[in-house]
C-alpha cells in the first residue's frame, strides 16, 4: 500500500456539534488536498486533529508507517513530535520576537551556526531580508503571511497544514498571493492539507478536494470531478453549482438519459446513473451554458438546445451572470465581451446550448 495519511476522528463538542470524519490522503507523490465546506462545518477541527491539537477518545491517525493517534492502544504522539507545519488562520506570529526570531523559533535542534544559515536562507527565499529585525506589528498582512510561511517551513516539516492561508488578507493582496502560494506549494514536494471556504482558492490551490459538511467528509476526489459531479444536492449547493433542479427520467439507456425539467427536455450522459431511477436532480454549471441569438449558428456537438428568455443580467467583475427561463430557471455565465457581441438585454429570446456530458444527474432514489 502506498504511503497515506489515514484519519478517523469522532468527537462531540459541548455545544452539540459532532465531528465524525474519515479521510485518506495519498502522501506520495505529494499533492494538495483542500478541505472545503461552509463555515462551522468542522474543517479546522479536522486539521487540528491531524496536528495533534485536538484530542478525542475516538481518534485514529496513521501517517505512513507511523501511528500518531490510536486510543485503543493508548498511542498519542504530541504535536511536537509529529514534525508537521501548521499555518494558523491569523498566522499566530510571536509578537515579542522579530521576523528572524520567529523564523528561527522552530530550529531548536540545530546548532547556532546552522540556525543562522537556515534563517537567512528562508529570509532570502521569502524576500524578508530587509524586514528581519522588524516585529510583527510593523508588517503588512502579506508580509505577515510570508513570515508565517517561512516560520512553518523552517524546521522542514513532513506535512503542511494550512488553515485558511489567505483569509486574513484584503482582496487585492489575496488575489496576488494566491498565485504565489500555488507556486510555492508545487515547489515544496511536501503533502499539503489546506482548509478554505473560498471556491476560487480551492480551485487555484488544490489537486484534490474533500467536501466537509456538518462534521463529515461527504465527498472526496479530484477537484474538477467534485465540482462538476457532486454526489448529492447538498454537495452541489456547497460547491455552488448554479442550476440544481428536480427532474423526471423519461428514458434511459446505457449511454444517454432523457429527462424532463419543468417544461423542457434535456439529454444527459448516463455515466453511473442507475438505469432504473425515475426521479433525479439535474446539476448544470453556469460556465457550461453557451448562449446564441440566432438559430442557424447551431454547434453540432451540443445535444441540448433550449429556447429561452433572458430574465436578468447581473454584473460580476469581468463576468456577467445571466438568469434564463428555459421552461425551468437556468443560469449562465458569460464574459463581458461575449455579452456585448450578443447585445443581450432583458426579455431577449436566446438559445441555450449544453453538452450532454455537462448535464450531471443525481439519482433521487439514493
Amino acid at each position: 500500500m502506498a504511503a497515506a495519511l489515514i484519519l478517523r476522528f469522532r468527537k462531540r463538542f459541548p455545544k452539540g456539534a459532532l465531528i465524525d470524519a474519515e479521510l485518506q490522503v495519498r502522501l506520495d507523490p505529494p499533492s494538495v488536498t483542500v478541505l472545503f465546506g461552509p463555515s462551522g462545518a468542522g474543517k479546522t477541527t479536522i486539521l487540528r486533529a491531524i496536528a495533534g491539537l485536538e484530542r478525542s477518545p475516538n481518534c485514529v491517525i496513521h501517517f505512513g508507517r507511523e501511528t500518531w493517534a490510536d486510543d485503543n492502544n493508548g498511542v498519542f504522539v504530541p504535536p511536537q513530535r509529529r514534525r508537521i507545519g501548521f499555518l494558523f488562520q491569523d498566522y499566530a506570529l510571536f509578537s515579542h520576537l522579530t521576523v528572524a526570531g520567529n523564523i528561527r523559533y522552530g530550529l531548536g535542534g540545530l546548532s547556532a551556526n546552522e540556525q543562522q544559515l537556515r534563517t537567512s536562507e528562508l529570509l532570502e527565499r521569502f524576500q524578508l531580508q530587509d524586514l528581519a529585525a522588524r516585529h510583527p506589528h510593523q508588517l503588512s498582512g502579506g508580509q505577515k503571511q510570508r513570515v508565517a510561511l517561512a516560520r512553518t517551513l523552517a524546521p522542514q516539516p513532513r506535512l503542511l497544514l494550512l488553515d485558511e492561508p489567505l483569509s486574513a488578507l484584503d482582496g487585492p493582496t489575496r488575489e496576488a498571493l494566491r498565485g504565489e502560494l500555488r507556486n510555492l506549494l508545487s515547489s515544496l514536494s511536501i503533502p499539503v492539507l489546506l482548509v478554505t471556504h473560498d471556491r476560487m482558492e480551492a480551485l487555484a490551490l488544490g489537486d484534490e478536494i474533500a467536501i466537509v459538511n456538518e462534521g463529515r467528509i461527504v465527498q472526496h476526489g479530484l477537484i474538477e470531478e467534485v465540482f462538476r459531479r457532486p454526489l448529492t444536492p447538498a454537495i452541489a449547493k456547497i460547491v455552488a453549482v448554479e442550476t440544481v433542479q428536480r427532474a423526471r427520467v423519461l428514458q434511459a439507456d446505457e449511454e444517454l438519459v432523457t429527462i424532463a425539467v419543468g417544461e423542457a427536455r434535456l439529454i444527459a450522459a448516463a455515466r453511473d446513473f442507475p438505469s432504473d431511477a425515475k426521479e433525479a436532480f439535474v446539476c448544470i454549471r453556469a460556465e457550461d451554458v453557451l448562449l446564441l441569438k440566432r438559430i442557424e449558428t447551431i454547434s453540432a456537438s451540443a445535444r441540448n438546445r433550449l429556447p429561452g428568455i433572458v430574465k436578468s443580467l447581473i454584473h460580476e467583475g469581468p463576468m456577467w451572470r445571466i438568469e434564463l427561463d428555459c421552461g425551468f430557471p437556468l443560469k449562465a455565465l458569460l464574459t463581458r465581451q461575449a455579452c456585448e457581441e450578443l447585445a443581450l438585454r432583458e426579455s431577449d429570446r436566446v438559445l441555450a446550448m449544453i453538452k450532454a456530458t455537462n448535464v450531471h444527474l443525481i439519482s433521487r432514489s439514493t
Binding site: A51, G52, L53, P78, P79, Q80, R81, R83, I84, G85, F86, F88, D90, A92, F94, S95, H96, Y105, G106, G108, G109, R151, T152, A154, P155
Partner: protein, 224 residues
C-alpha cells in the same frame, strides 16, 4: 529609626516574593489552563487570605507549624528548633498570606496569552517548559511583575499575621510594622512617625515605579 526591623522586613518581603514566584507560576499556569471541574475550589482557597482576618490565618498557621503538628515535628527533627516565633515560621505564614496577591495577577496575565501562540510553539517542536519560558513568560511579564511587586509590598505591610506567628523578637521577627506599633505603645510618636513615613514613601515609590514602567494599570482582580 529601627534599622534592624527595616532590614528584617525587606529580607522577609524579598524572600516571600521569590518563593511566591517559584510556587505561584506553576499554580497560576494550572489555574489558567486546567479544565478540571473542581478548579473553582482551588481558586477559592487561593483567594481566602484576602477575606480572612489575619488573626484567623495566623492562628491556623500557628497550629499547623506548632510543636504538636506533623510539620512542626518534622522541622524540629531536622533542625532541632521550632517554627513558631522564628523567621522561617514567619516566612511560611507570609507566603500563604500574600499568595492571592501573586497568583491572581499571574493567572490573569497567563490566561491573556493567545492560546494559538502556544499551539504554534508546540507545532514548531517546543515542549511544555520551552513554550512557557519562550512564549508565555515574555508575553505575560507585565502581569507577573505586578504580582511580584504586590506580594512584596503586601508582605512589607503585614501586621496581624506577624504578631500571631512571629511575636515580637528583635532581629528575628520584629518587622517594621511591629516596630511602629511598639513605638506608639511607648508613646514615642516622633520615632513612630519617622518609621511610618519611611514605609509609606517606600511603598508608594515601589508601586508608582512599577505602574509607571508598565504604563498601564494591570488590575489585581481582572474580570474573567
Amino acid at each position: 529609626m529601627d534599622w534592624s526591623a527595616i532590614e528584617l522586613s525587606l529580607r522577609l518581603s524579598t524572600l516571600t516574593m521569590l518563593l511566591l514566584l517559584i510556587l505561584g507560576l506553576p499554580l497560576a499556569s494550572w489555574l489558567a489552563f486546567s479544565q478540571w471541574r473542581w478548579k473553582f475550589c482551588v481558586e477559592a482557597v487561593v483567594t481566602l487570605p484576602i477575606v480572612l482576618p489575619p488573626t484567623v490565618l495566623g492562628f491556623y498557621v500557628l497550629i499547623a507549624i506548632g510543636p504538636h503538628s506533623p510539620i512542626g515535628q518534622i522541622y524540629a527533627a531536622i533542625t532541632g528548633r521550632g517554627l513558631p516565633f522564628s523567621f522561617q515560621g514567619l516566612l511560611i505564614a507570609s507566603v500563604l498570606y500574600s499568595l492571592p496577591f501573586a497568583v491572581q495577577p499571574f493567572t490573569a496575565a497567563i490566561s491573556t496569552v493567545d492560546q494559538r501562540l502556544i499551539e504554534a510553539s508546540w507545532c514548531l517542536g517546543r515542549g511544555w517548559l520551552g513554550t512557557f519560558l519562550r512564549v508565555t513568560l515574555p508575553l505575560a511579564w507585565p502581569g507577573i511583575l505586578t504580582g511580584m511587586v504586590l506580594s512584596f509590598a503586601h508582605t512589607l505591610g503585614e501586621f496581624g499575621v506577624v504578631l500571631m506567628i512571629g511575636g515580637d523578637l528583635a532581629g528575628v521577627t520584629r518587622t517594621i510594622s511591629i516596630s511602629i506599633f511598639d513605638q506608639v505603645q511607648a508613646l514615642d510618636y516622633g520615632a513612630a512617625h519617622q518609621t511610618a513615613l519611611a514605609l509609606l514613601l517606600f511603598s508608594f515609590l515601589v508601586l508608582a515605579i512599577t505602574y509607571g514602567l508598565q504604563r498601564r494599570v494591570i488590575a489585581v482582580w481582572p474580570p474573567r
